[in-house]
Structure formats: C-alpha cells, structure tokens
Symmetry: C2
Subunit: 412 residues, 2 copies
C-alpha cells in the first residue's frame, strides 16, 4: 500500500463533469489499495472572476483581504470533489489550509510554507478516508488565510507530499509529461521517463511551463518524487526526481527556449567599481528582474555591459537606463526586443567537456549568430535573433541525439 | 462612544455598487464616534449558485462539505467590504467564523451557537479598526466550518452583539421596520417604535418575515436590543427589546396572518389514551410540523381531532393520516387547504380580560366563521376560511385601534 498525493489543476476541475472525472480517477487509485490525498485548484475561471471583483472595488486591495477573497475558489472545489466521492460511496473529507494546518509566513499573496501538520490527515487516512486539500492556501501563525501565489497549488501538493512522506506526488496536467523540447516545434521530441530536479528547474525557468518553479525547489529540498502526467489518459508521464547514474550518461536532456526577454546594452561604460550597482539597483527597485548579465573585457578603461529583462518590462527598463546613462558615463544605450534565448540542459554535461562548443558549432553551421552566452553547471544558454528560434531548437535537438528516430536507432 | 453592530443582508451587498453604499453607511457610523462591527451575508444569488453546484453533484450532499461550500459566499463579501472600507481610508479587517471564534455545535447546516470569542475583536476595535464578520458561519470544536441555516446572518449579528455586549444590533433590511400588520393589506398600518421580544417571536412565526426567529430568541436570551431598519434611508426603524411599561398599556400590538397552513380532521376518534401519540408520531417521523391541535369534549367515548400542517406537506400528511385512520378506529378523515390563520398579538392582553371575545365579536360582525381557536399568553389565533383573510386583518386592525387615523385621534 502506497501513499499517493495527486494534484489536479483548474482545467481538470473546471466543470461539474470534469470534477466527476477527477473523482473517478481518485477512486481508481484508492481501489488499487493506496491511501490517497488529492490537492485541487479553483475551477478554471473562478480565480479570475474573484480578482475582477477585487479590481472593481480597489486599485490596491489589501493583500490580507485579497487572500480571504481568492482562497474561496479552492474551497468550493474541495467541497464539490468530496461530495462527489461520497456520492460514489467513498469516505472523503475536505481540508482547508488552516485545518491541516499548512503554516506559512505572513507575506500575503506570496506566502512561503513553514510547516505541514500531518496528524489529523494521517488519522483520517487510517480510517480509509480520501483526503481532499485546498491548494494555493495556507494559514499564518495568527490564523489568517495566506496564499502561495499563482500556480501555488503545485507547491501545496509537493509540500503535502513532503509533510506526509508520500511515496509519490502526481501532478495532473494537460500534457503527457516533460518532453525533450517543445513538440510543437520539434515533432520528434520525446517524453522523458525521468528528469533530475536541477534539470527541471532549468527547464521550467527557461520557458517550459509544466510545473511551478517553487514546487520543484520544494521537491528537491525534501526529496519528493514528482510524477507529471496527463489527466486525459493513463499513460505514465515523467518522474522528476533525484539525479541517478542513468541521467549522467545523457549529455543533454532537453532543449528549452524563451522568447519573452529583451536585451539592453550600455556602451563604453567606464570600467570602475560601483558601476554595476549604480545600474542594477534602480532596476531592482522598480521590480524588474534582470536575467543574463554580460560584461566583457575592458578596452581603454571602458567596457560594454549587456543584460536581459522580461519583454513586458522592456520600455520601463530602457527609460531607467537612459536616465542613468549620463551619470554612469556611458556613451549610449541600445535595446533589442527581437531576441530569444535557447538553452541546452543536462546534468551529464557536468562531467563532459565539449558540450558548449558542440552547441556553438551546431548554431553556426546554420548561420545563426550568437549574441550572448551564459553558462551554468548543467546548462548553456545562447541569446540569438528571435527569427531563428525554431530553427535553433530543431538543430540542437538533433545535434544532441534527442530526436525520436535517433534514439530508436541508438536502442537498436 | 457606543459599540454598534450592523447587519446587511444579501440584497444590500448584491453588487459592487451596493457594497460601496454599505461601506459609506458603515463609515458614517464610525465617523460619528462609534466602534463598528459589521456582519454581512453572501451577495444576493451567490448562495443559490453554490447550492445548485452541490445539487448537480449529489442529491444528498454531505452536510459537512455543504457548509464548506456555501460558507464561501459570505467569505467573498467580507473581503470585498473590507477592501472597500480600506480604499476609503479606514482601517478594516475581515473575520471568518473560526477566527472570532464563533463556536457552535457540530450539527452542520443548522448549527447552534455555543460561545463567541471577543478578545481579538476587542483588541482590533481598540485600535480603531472596523470589523467585518462573515454571517451565517461558525466553527465546531474540531475546527470544521458550520453554518446556522438560511437567514442565519441575523442570528450571527445578534450573537456577536451579545458576545461583545454591544449597545445596539442594527439589522438593515428592505422594510422600514415592524408594522402593526401587513401594509399591503391595511394601508393604515403603522410602524411600531418598539416591540417586545415575545411579541416579535409571535409576529415572526405567524408570518411576518422580517427577522429570523432564532435571532429573536437569541436577542431575548441575552437582552440584545435589535434595531430593525431600512438600508435605503436614514429613518429610525423598530426596536425589538425587553418588555417595558409602555408596551403593557397597549392591549394588542399587531395583527399577523398566515395562509400557508392546511387543516386535517379525524372524525369520531375513540377517546382513549395513546391515540394522539399513534397519530402524531408518524407525522413527526415524516418531518411534518404540526401547528395547532384541537381536540374537543368527548361524546359517547368519541371525539373529533383537528390539526394544521404546512400547506406544502398537506398531501403527504393526509395520506399518512388516511393510512392510520382504520387502526385508530376513526370514522373518517377530512382535509381543507382553503384556510388561513389570523392572530392578534400583544403583551398587554396578559393583564386584560375580554381581548379574545372582542376579536370573536369583530369577526362575527362581518359574518366570518371561526373554525379553530388557539390561545397563548400573548396571542389569540383563529383559523378561518382563507377568502376572508384580508377582511379579517382589516377588521381586527381597526377594532384594536391600530389604524393610523385612530391612533392620531387617541393622541388628541
């Protein structure tokens, strides 16, 4: 008998009929002899409806009250799913954040989980009850409702799985699992059987939007095995788990891309201490997240400084930088929104040299110019002209032997 | 400085604009130097929407989960009203049942209040915060959400007022106050300045639907002064309060009527012990509430037995009684749906004789036949043919000097 945590997102519980489908899947898992804890999101559209009400009332609603408001979405779903399981003859019981309790800090609208109570849930599980938990919400230490930020239900699920030491945390979504790259660009992309936490973190933050990043960090910290799979079929999905020996034999596990960034360059900046801080402090004060930063070797005591920001913040960022440019002593500012970032990711590259140069070769063979490079232990990212994005992804996918055909050949 | 509890129903908070109106009224009360605690219902229509979802899932939804579901309605309103007050520059804070805590028994969907915590609310009030409380909901002693039954927000308000020893509990509704009778039938009906708890209980249970009965019982038990008034104007309404000397000088305070009952008679029942129990046990088992019961003197060891039931249960009741009739030894069963009950109510009649006979006289002067009579210390009810209802109400209203004109004359 295993303890299985399952999480279903807003689309999977978007209508009463879909809630019935979820109930059937939950019941099946229970009938197979497992203890089951289900985490659910608000019905699709519900959170937006609530946020719209708040917006109508106030431009800057109190975050405490915002959490009281939006947390009702998940509360509705847990009641309906529990009723549905009961009507099918199962024992089921809903849990709100404060009832678990899922204790968080008091940073409303983006709270961080501090601890998970397991006593009450364990007692109910022992009596053969299916537990239905409201995702996205917790409670702070004075009993106020907190929420974990959009997509927080993934994090709730992983946290509950960690708290209960569950055997697996299944995240049901509308895709079959994690693919070696976006199948819409590369039809030969294959579903990975497993992927390490670190690789998943890079995949997620680089533009694959399957799991909330924080849930992966949480899973890594507590060693929770996450099974990403489809709520529309019974196919096994992808296990997100601790690195194992198999994983290291693969140089590159996946190719990610991100078209949502823009590039800003400050030209001929005096190469002296304090410049970076003068530049990036005002950006961070304006809540602009800077991703890649490149500063090249200095010529005549001057250097060019280039960095990327989210495309949505590009205008605001370029205004700030233009305002600073004179004070910093730069000769000018250049911006470019037509860029994208392609990345190769794999824990295997840690112990192998030559992976980066193979990437550069593959891109240059197609005449794709590399504008920026950034590397970490398990990934290499290149900024290129955005019009080459799809081509670059296809080329890299093939170059690192990730195409379905190539893999089959390897197997033979 | 007074401590004022205000309650606004679903219609008063039915849209964002109406919530803004409520916020302005609350703010005004606060600006006048009062401490303010507001109790609100779900936005009009919301509870029905949630109940419909539950109905779609299951014919017999679990009451625990039903409470989890429907209590979200009030949760949405408290968040929105708090946000609205904050956007107007006031300190405001929402409270859910478990946060107060409003402790109830664990009879879901119709829980009874056991105690009200006042510590947290008092501390917030002291800091100049307006408190916004979710009506209708409480928590049981294991931390599960309970609800008080439809209309329970009135009871929440009175209970909070009792717990905080508030100076007044204002119940805002769509009428100006409590009238001597239904103004749609008698245009001369006048708004009462005050009414005793017992009179209000008789008025409410006899068909005037202004306050939930349980809230009046609660107010009586804890001596809470309830001010029923309109949310559409600033007119003073009606105070529901402890009996005082003024009230006793009035023989009859109001005339109530009820068209929702039907009459069933069992003819020539053997007059022996155990018959009543044989008759009424099966009705109560079928959840049918019997109101008036009349059993007359016995002739030849037989008696007629007549009682009233809600019109909605008439068919079911008559089937049950017909099934029993043979066993009991009755000679037949008669039913009549075309009846209504008119009542005169007043604490003054306790110390005055002749009130009942004045009622019978007034009815008989119009040729209205009385089919059943039932009396209590402060009311006399007569069952009559329903076609005479309006006439009877008008006649009684005039006979006991309640008409506007009559009152003015008395004053002169």
């Amino acid at each position: 008998m295993a303890l299985v945590v399952q999480k279903y997102g807003g689309t999977s519980v978007g209508t009463v009929d879909r809630i019935r489908n979820v109930a059937r899947r939950v019941a099946k898992t229970f009938d197979e002899g497992n203890e089951v804890v289900v985490i659910v999101s608000a019905m699709a559209g519900e959170t937006n409806r609530l946020v719209a009400l708040a917006d109508e009332i106030s431009e800057t609603p109190s975050e405490r009250e915002y959490d009281v408001l939006v947390s009702t979405g998940e509360q509705v779903t847990i009641a309906l799913l529990s009723m549905c399981l009961q009507s099918m003859g199962y024992k089921a019981k809903s849990y709100l954040g404060y009832q678990i309790p899922m204790l968080t800090d008091n940073v409303h609208a983006k709270a961080r989980i501090k601890s998970i109570g397991d006593e009450k849930i364990r007692a109910d599980l022992k009596e053969g009850t299916i537990i239905v938990v409201a995702g996205f919400q917790g409670t702070d230490d004075v009993g106020d409702i907190t929420t974990l930020g959009r997509g927080g239900s993934d994090t709730s699920a992983v946290a509950v799985a960690a708290g209960l030491k569950a055997d697996v945390c299944e995240i049901y979504t509308d895709v079959d699992g994690v693919y070696t790259t976006d199948p819409r660009i590369v039809p030969e992309a294959t579903k990975m059987e497993k992927i390490s936490y670190d690789e998943m973190l890079e995949m997620a933050s680089l533009g694959s939007k399957i799991l909330q990043i924080r849930s992966v960090e949480f899973a890594k910290k507590y060693g929770v095995v996450v099974h990403v799979r489809s709520s529309f079929n019974d196919n096994p999905g992808t296990l997100v788990m601790k690195e194992d020996n198999d994983m290291e034999t693969v140089l590159v596990s996946g190719i990610a891309y991100n078209k949502d960034e823009a590039k800003i360059s400050l030209l001929r900046v005096p190469d002296q201490p304090g410049i970076a801080s003068q530049l990036f402090k005002p950006l961070s004060d304006a809540n602009i997240t800077v991703d890649m930063i490149i500063q090249n070797v200095s010529h005549d005591g001057h250097t060019d400084m280039t960095f990327t920001v989210p495309k949505a913040d590009f205008k605001k960022a370029i205004e700030i930088v233009q305002g600073l440019s004179g004070n910093i002593g730069a000769s000018g500012v250049k911006g470019n929104e037509n860029i994208s970032k392609v990345s190769i990711i794999g824990v295997g590259m840690r112990s192998h040299s030559g992976v980066a140069s193979k990437m550069f070769d593959a891109l240059s063979a197609e005449g794709i110019n590399i504008e920026m490079i950034s590397t970490s232990e398990i990934k290499v990212s290149c900024v290129i002209d955005s019009k080459y994005t799809e081509l670059a992804v296809r080329v890299l996918h093939e170059a690192f032997g990730l195409d379905k055909k190539a893999q089959e050949e390897t197997t033979i």
